[in-house]
Amino acid sequence: MEMSKKLAGKSFKFGDDISTDLIAPGRYFHLRSNLPELAKHVLEDADPEFAKKVKPGDFVVGGRNFGLGSSREHAPTIIKLAGVGAVLAKSFARIFYRNCINVGLPALKCDTDKIDEGDILEIDLKGGEIFNKDKNIKIKFNPLPEVMIKILSDGGLTGHIKKNEGFNL
């Protein structure tokens, strides 16, 4: 993905410990082979209306330990398929974070207490800064590790492997 791209959209606020079961519920296990259909249920058990309300470019904003639980890569994949530009949280569970990078969905660690539901945000991925237009404040986010910037820049892990015919980290 283009790291110099600026992202802009509306915030959808969620709490702490948003599990992959809330993002991609097990009862839709059979839809994992039909991701656009599964995406219609994204985050359904945290906010049943989310998939209907979200617009391309909007942001998912969580609290602590976002994405805990299962290794299902379908979770970040359907967040991305729903059009979400980036996921912001105070902290991420390890596998979810890694999966985000692999599927090309920016996952940004920052102080999300400074963001409320519906706030309009502008994000400069390269500059490491979020501008909350509604509150007129700038929020720094922890820069992505270099290895993850490389993978993201190559369009995710498969892009990285194809481009370099193996790892080049």
Binding site: D17, D21, P25, G26, S71
Partner: protein
């Protein structure tokens, strides 16, 4: 400064000295995916232009999460895995053979290995002294295709287990208690390394339960050193040849050391909807049950079924309660049949299902109704986990589960054992 077990294993697979924080590309020994994550891994292997897996003998697709398949979409996904395994040289572990993590410890993972799997509970193999960790389908696709992955060498939290374990306190109670203490993200990006004098009294089944739930504290792996107990286990699986001494170094650089006096523990419960929402059973208010589930990669092993049968033999499951039992593998199921355990369970009122994940993932075999309450021996109680966001899941040991099934509400196994 000495090395942690994780640093030693990762260094060996990276071909150089490593320390916590380093990012390295490593060779991997065992790669696996299951039926929920495998089809996406297959897509990604093909996207990268690979047709074969690099290391066929230790590349495995497990059909366990929805096995046997409850609907055609999943049957088709299973076909994708069987066809790909057939063409690529990978192994397939099909319907009825058991849960991936149980099958790995029985037949594949060895001390000193790096094991990666597209399932978060891959850390279970850590009990054998392997660096075992869960990843997503794309990472695993690369693992299948190239037998390599990249890792950040984790910092390690040493957990020293000490004290004399009370008679009716089990490995499940130890790990639930620990997760309550360090919370659901207390070990994120870190390895948990278990040690201390109590290890000499922990069976491999105990250790598997503990390693299995390391990820519920956010950990990358939950690793044990190896000893004669590990050696005997591998011998019992006809795999003596893969035993290796795995130990930590005295002056290893731990991020943190937690000393746990297990002599003071009592039976524990994780209450809805997070695993770290823990409470001593003696402090829990009366919780009426609709369903009890004994099984999974956490607690579906022979010793788990045995203690359940000991409690349930000659008694009946309470009216209005459904008891579901799922042995974790065919090997366990067969042994439990031979020992009469399955007969005791069925006669008490249990519905025994084919080896696999059972209702833990919310796909089949025991989805909960609106407002229903389940006590389970599984590792997760997240909202919606068992197929219904309007239901409630409590976690406990098999002994607590079995006694509670008889009583009809969550009950203290010290009343019966």
């Amino acid at each position: 400064m000495g090395k942690t077990i994780s640093e030693k294993i990762i260094g060996k697979h990276a071909g150089k000295e490593v320390k916590a924080g380093d990012i390295v590309v490593v060779d991997v020994d065992v790669v696996m995916a299951q039926d929920g994550t495998g089809p996406l891994a297959v897509d990604q292997i093909k996207n990268m232009g690979f047709k074969k897996v690099k290391n066929p003998d230790k590349s495995i697709f497990f059909i366990d999460h929805a096995a046997p398949s409850p609907r055609k979409e999943l049957s088709n996904s299973h076909m994708v895995l069987r066809n790909f395994a057939n063409k690529s040289g990978a192994k397939i572990s099909d319907v009825g053979e058991g849960v991936c993590h149980q099958r790995l410890i029985e037949d594949y993972s060895c001390p000193g290995d790096i094991v990666i799997g597209a399932d978060s509970h891959t850390c279970t193999s850590g009990a054998l002294g392997a660096f075992a960790t869960g990843m997503g389908s794309t990472d695993i696709a690369v693992g299948f295709a190239m037998a390599k992955t990249w890792l950040m060498v984790p910092e390690t939290i040493k957990i020293n287990l000490g004290g004399k374990l009370p008679k009716v306190v089990f490995a499940k109670d130890i790990i639930i208690s620990l997760i309550g203490k360090i919370t659901s993200d207390g070990a994120t990006y870190k390895a948990l390394e278990f040690g201390g004098p109590l290890l000499a009294n922990l069976t491999m089944d105990d250790r598997f339960t503990i390693s299995n739930m390391a990820v519920e504290a956010g950990a990358k792996t939950g690793i044990f050193p190896t000893d004669n107990i590990t050696k005997d286990y591998l011998a019992s699986q006809n795999r003596s040849d893969c035993f290796k001494e795995i130990s930590t170094e005295e002056d290893a650089d731990y991020k943190d050391i937690i000393n746990m006096d297990c002599g003071k523990l009592e039976p524990m419960i994780s209450a809805p909807h997070t695993v770290d929402n823990t409470i001593k059973i003696s402090e829990l208010e009366k919780v009426e049950l609709n369903q009890v589930f004994i099984g999974t990669c956490t607690n579906g092993r022979l010793s788990d079924l045995k203690i359940a049968a000991e409690i349930l033999k000659g008694k009946k499951v309470a009216k209005g309660v459904r008891l579901i039992v799922v042995p974790a593998s065919k090997k366990i199921y067969t042994e439990a049949i031979k020992e009469g355990i399955i007969t005791d369970l069925v006669e008490s009122g249990a519905a025994v299902m084919a080896p696999g994940c059972g209702p833990c993932v919310g796909v089949h075999e025991g989805a909960l109704g609106d407002g229903e309450v389940c006590l389970s021996t599984q590792n997760r109680n997240f909202k919606g986990r068992m197929g219904n966001p309007d239901s409630f899941i409590y976690l406990a040991s098999p002994a607590t589960a079995a006694w509670s099934a008889i009583k009809g509400y969550i009950s203290d196994p010290r009343e019966v054992l």
